[in-house]
């Protein structure tokens, strides 16, 4: 059994249940504070993940704890801390049920952590459903707002569709190969790679994962849902849900179906390129910050796919490093949006006007996040994009289709300069017509922002440790 390996997940689930219980005895006006305590405990769990020496397999190989799983678990735990702090900040937007919101965030996080360790198709499906079902509620948490409910319904319909497609794919694969474990499938996939039904099954599973990472053709929900949900939800969707999708995709393609990944390299490259173009071009006319981040997150899903499409160890480690950088970057951007939207009461880009006078710290953090999203030195986004480009250019020597992907990525970066820098322009050049009153930032949130900025800078200026870790973790995938 070796269930002790899941100690981190157990701790998070127990914390979620504990928050639910505490909610019963906490007076209404103090319920928001519960999130802070939860964040501190999650921070403790994150610390414990560095102290405890955990590795191995549990539940008969369904659950694997290797370097890659640990990498994503830590990212998820960090994201949970920031998301919890953010939701304490904007908690007054929820009429009721703030404690449930915290618990559900923790459950979704537990799902992401299980996903990082999934080594079996059943485990993959269960952990994904744990994430998706909790997000159905989180997205529509602002029950009184039509926009929030609309987002929830959209997420529910497309999410249910993609789950259905995925479970159908799993059924097909299991029916043909008679195995659910990734290791077993790896041994059998070569033999079945001529079977159309088997390939269809794998394709359907990938489509389902495409929904999680909002890649074409399952990208349509992202802008609406990001805009409709409250900001911490959007942040968690952008970061955690995407990370879970990618860790599953990496494992599925390179552990379970390595030969199929080779065959489908061109298809993966095409999906990646089209996603990059869709996200970046769609972001140009956006005026709402969260909607902009929605399109931007589609584009980043496309960039992350580049590393998958490269079908090489270099590509996989690039995807991991990029995801690390993206986590810090997107969380910082969403945190700033949350504070500004709360103070200025607007999510339009123009609500950032004059931000550099009202809060130089927020202006600096947002600018650095935007630079990182664009992919310019010295931020994490640049180094990640560099690694991704490097892996794809390397792959292009064997398969010329990748040249189109390189062109799409380069074009995407240029386009993204236009809309990200437009936000920078608003922060610095456009004078706000509203008052110049300084914006207050609570201490926990400024601590989270600082951690995000530090993460971006460390990954951009001294990525040595993370790169070595990622390369080692990918090497263990085999």
């Amino acid at each position: 059994m070796n269930a002790g390996l899941t100690i981190l997940e157990i701790a998070v689930v127990a914390l979620g249940l504990g928050v639910m219980l505490l909610d019963l005895w906490t007076p209404t006006e103090r319920k928001r504070e519960l999130g802070l305590y939860a964040a501190v405990v999650v921070l403790g769990i994150l610390g414990a993940s560095f102290v405890l020496d955990l590795s191995g397999e549990a539940f008969g190989g369904m659950y694997v704890l290797d370097g890659m799983a640990m990498f994503f678990k830590r990212l998820t735990l960090f994201a949970m801390v920031v998301v919890l702090v953010m939701s304490v900040e904007v908690g007054d937007q929820l009429k009721s049920g703030i404690a449930e919101y915290y618990s559900l965030t923790l459950f979704a996080g537990a799902g992401m952590m299980f996903a990082a360790s999934a080594n079996n198709l059943a485990m993959l499906f269960v952990s994904l459903e744990l994430i998706t079902v909790t997000f159905y509620i989180l997205v529509s948490a602002q029950r009184s707002q039509a926009r929030s409910l609309e987002a929830g319904v959209k997420y529910l319909i497309i999410g249910a569709l993609s789950s259905a497609v995925m479970v159908y794919g799993i059924a097909l694969v299991f029916g043909i190969a008679g195995d659910l474990t990734f290791a077993g499938l790896a041994a059998k996939s070569a033999a079945h790679s001529g079977s159309l039904l088997f390939l269809l099954g794998v394709f359907f599973i990938l489509l389902g994962l495409g929904f999680k990472v909002s890649s074409v053709p399952f990208q349509l929900w992202a802008p609406d849902v990001y805009q409709g949900g409250i900001t911490p939800t959007s942040a968690f969707l952008a970061v955690g849900s995407k990370a879970a999708g990618f860790v599953l995709m990496l494992r599925l393609l390179f552990v379970a179906f390595p030969s199929i990944a080779q065959d489908w390299a061109t298809l993966l490259a095409a999906i990646s390129g089209i996603t990059i173009l869709y996200g970046n071009l769609g972001a140009i006319p956006q005026r709402n910050l969260k909607r902009l981040m929605g399109y931007s997150s589609i584009a980043h899903g496309g960039y992350l796919m580049m590393g998958v499409a490269a079908v090489s160890a270099a590509g996989q480690s690039a995807t991991m490093v990029y995801l690390g950088g993206y986590t810090f970057t997107a969380l910082a951007a969403f945190a700033v949006i949350a504070i500004v939207a709360k103070t200025v009461e607007g999510e339009d880009i123009s609500s950032l006007a004059g931000l550099h006078r009202r809060s130089p710290v927020l202006a600096l953090a947002m600018t650095l996040a935007l630079i990182s999203l664009t992919g310019l030195p010295p931020m994490a986004g640049f180094f990640g994009k560099f690694m991704l480009l490097k892996s794809v250019i390397h792959a292009a020597e064997a398969n010329t289709a990748y040249y189109w992907l390189i062109a799409a990525a380069v074009f995407g970066v240029v386009v993204s300069v236009y809309y990200y820098f437009n936000v920078i322009r608003t922060i610095f050049f456009v004078e706000g017509n509203n008052d110049d009153a300084p914006i207050e930032i609570s201490r926990p949130l400024s601590f989270s922002l600082f951690a995000c900025v530090a993460g971006m800078l460390v990954l951009g200026l001294y990525p040595d440790a993370v790169v070595s870790f990622a390369i080692e973790a990918v090497g263990a995938l085999g």
């Binding site: 560099f386 690694m387 480009l389 380069v410 300069v417 236009y418 050049f429």
Partner: protein, 521 residues
């Protein structure tokens, strides 16, 4: 930390420290920046003096890990080619900080932080011996440029200019990044980003011609866009015209040299066959810079646009020198890079001073300013003269060497380029002097002007002029340093045999193939 590392670290450390300066101390920011860039400039002068001419390889090397698993290091070092560029960059950086005192009266702290990041970035780029770092440091300037033009810039086209300059620069950067990565991947495992090792690897095992033929144009056009190669030059005059003085000085003077340096240091020696194949095209495109932009400069009514176009035109000479693939031509190209950096900074600094006094740069509304501005006016006459290639300034020495070097390979292009340099350049430069400084004062637009009276205002211009004159009268100070390093680059680009033939024809036959630039001078 050795001398070179300090030169790069000081601007960044000063920028970091400045974050914590109290906002109400408005002038303190400029003083800190002046102190930092002044120290950088002094260290750069010391570096230049201590640099031992004739030693092979790099000096003042230092290495700090960045991502060891990928073979990327913060690896700095100087040889003959970049020692002059670092000196020029540091001096221009100091001058740019000095001239900003009167112009930047709002949000000083932010401005000087951005300026220092820009200066540290480009010096780091010049000093890097690692291809990744070379690119990495260059990009530091992008966001500061955008914000500086947008916040402190001038003119109605400011908003348009910010996006145009940024988008062009990103396009150029991304194309050259793709080229650099493709180049890096040509080396066998374990791969390195070290320029010297890569050059060695590619000398021993040249890249297949097909690959070279693909990588070289990526680098040539990517870097070309960053250097405002015709027809991708339109961002430059507009951007410089809208930028605050210090930004225009840094960008036109120093940051634009990044692409040229990349061509000389990386593209030409590592893809020699690609270079042989593509450089003739560059030679013809450079005519676009020299002639077309020269004509455009002639038509300008606005002084900044004139200077901007003339600065684009001057880039043509460097391209021509590189395209010649001769030792004299490449050495001359590096000399022009240094000279033009100083000159562009000087002219933009002076026009910025004028703008501060008159609030307009429309030459039709100016006239007779020399009476009121003896120092600034005289400096401007000298700068304009340097710009049309008057002997005594470093520009002349460099341009003459480029023409000598390019004559054999491209006689037609060189003839037109000489004509463009001497005639077109003289027309617009002299016309600007007549319109602005000489003649009657414009009756509609009478202004009382203050000349740069005290040392603090004169220092930046005097420093730039003095450096130009020193290198103009004694170009050997630079060429003797450039020559050995340029020789290695030209050798790699031509293959040894070609070089000997080439040199023997240019040089006195008795010398048996050994080059001595002093004979040509």
């Amino acid at each position: 930390m050795n001398n070179l590392t300090l030169i790069i670290a000081i601007p960044f450390l000063a920028a970091l420290g400045m974050l914590f300066l109290p906002r109400r101390e408005k002038d303190l920011a400029q003083q800190v920046a002046m102190l930092a860039t002044g120290a950088t400039a002094l260290l750069a002068i010391a570096l230049f003096v201590k640099f031992e001419t004739g030693l092979p390889g790099f000096q003042f090397e230092s290495k700090i890990p960045f991502a060891k698993a990928l073979g990327i290091w913060f690896h700095f070092g100087v040889d003959g080619v970049n020692v002059g560029l670092i000196l020029m960059g540091a001096i221009v950086g100091f001058a740019a900080t000095c001239v900003s005192f009167d112009e930047i009266r709002d949000r000083q702290k932010e401005f000087y932080i951005l300026l220092l990041v820009m200066i540290g970035g480009i010096l780091g780029s010049f000093a890097s011996m690692d291809i990744f770092m070379f690119f990495f440091f260059h990009e530091f300037a992008l966001v500061p440029t955008f914000i500086m033009i947008g916040v402190w810039g001038r003119g109605v086209d400011k908003n348009y200019a910010t996006f145009k300059i940024t988008l062009y620069l990103v396009v150029g950067s991304m194309i050259s990044l793709a080229g650099l990565i493709a180049l890096y991947l040509q080396a066998p495992e374990p791969r390195t980003f070290n320029m010297v090792e890569l050059a060695q690897i590619f000398r021993d095992n040249p890249i297949a011609f097909g690959q070279q033929n693909l990588i070289f144009p990526l680098l040539m056009f990517g870097f070309g866009i960053l250097v405002s190669l015709w027809p991708f030059h339109t961002w430059a005059p507009l951007g410089y015209g809208s930028a605050p003085t210090a930004t225009a000085m840094m960008h036109a003077g120093v940051i634009k040299k990044f692409g040229l340096y990349g061509l000389i240091r990386i593209a030409v020696p590592m893809c020699p066959e690609g270079a042989q194949n593509w450089l003739p095209l560059l030679a013809f495109l450079c005519l676009g810079n020299i002639l077309y932009c020269g004509f455009v400069a002639m038509k300008q009514k606005d002084l900044n646009l004139l200077i901007g176009n003339s600065s684009v035109a001057h880039m043509g000479f460097v391209f021509l020198g590189i395209a010649s693939l001769t030792l004299i031509g490449v050495t001359g190209a590096v000399l022009v890079m240094v000279a033009h950096g100083l000159l562009a900074a000087l002219t933009f600094g002076l026009s910025g001073y004028l703008y501060g006094q008159t609030r307009t740069l429309d030459m039709d509304r100016m006239g007779g300013y020399l009476n009121q501005l003896p120092f600034i006016g005289a400096a401007m006459v000298m700068a304009m003269m340097a710009g049309c290639g008057l002997p005594g300034f470093a520009n002349f020495a460099g341009e003459a060497m480029v023409f000598f070097g390019a004559w054999k390979a491209y006689p037609f292009v060189t003839t037109l380029a000489v004509w463009g340099a001497l005639v077109i350049g003289a027309v617009y430069m002299l016309r600007a002097i007549r319109n602005i400084l000489h003649g009657e004062e414009n009756a509609d637009n009478k202004v009382s002007l203050n000349d740069a009276a005290d040392w603090r205002k004169r220092a930046p211009f005097a420093l730039l002029l003095a450096t130009l004159l020193v290198f103009g009268f004694a170009p050997r100070l630079l060429t003797s340093k450039i020559q050995p390093s340029a020789k290695a680059i030209v050798d790699a680009a031509n293959g040894i045999e070609t070089r000997l033939v080439e040199v023997a024809q240019l040089d006195a036959p008795a010398k048996g193939g050994e080059t001595d630039l002093n004979d040509v001078e």
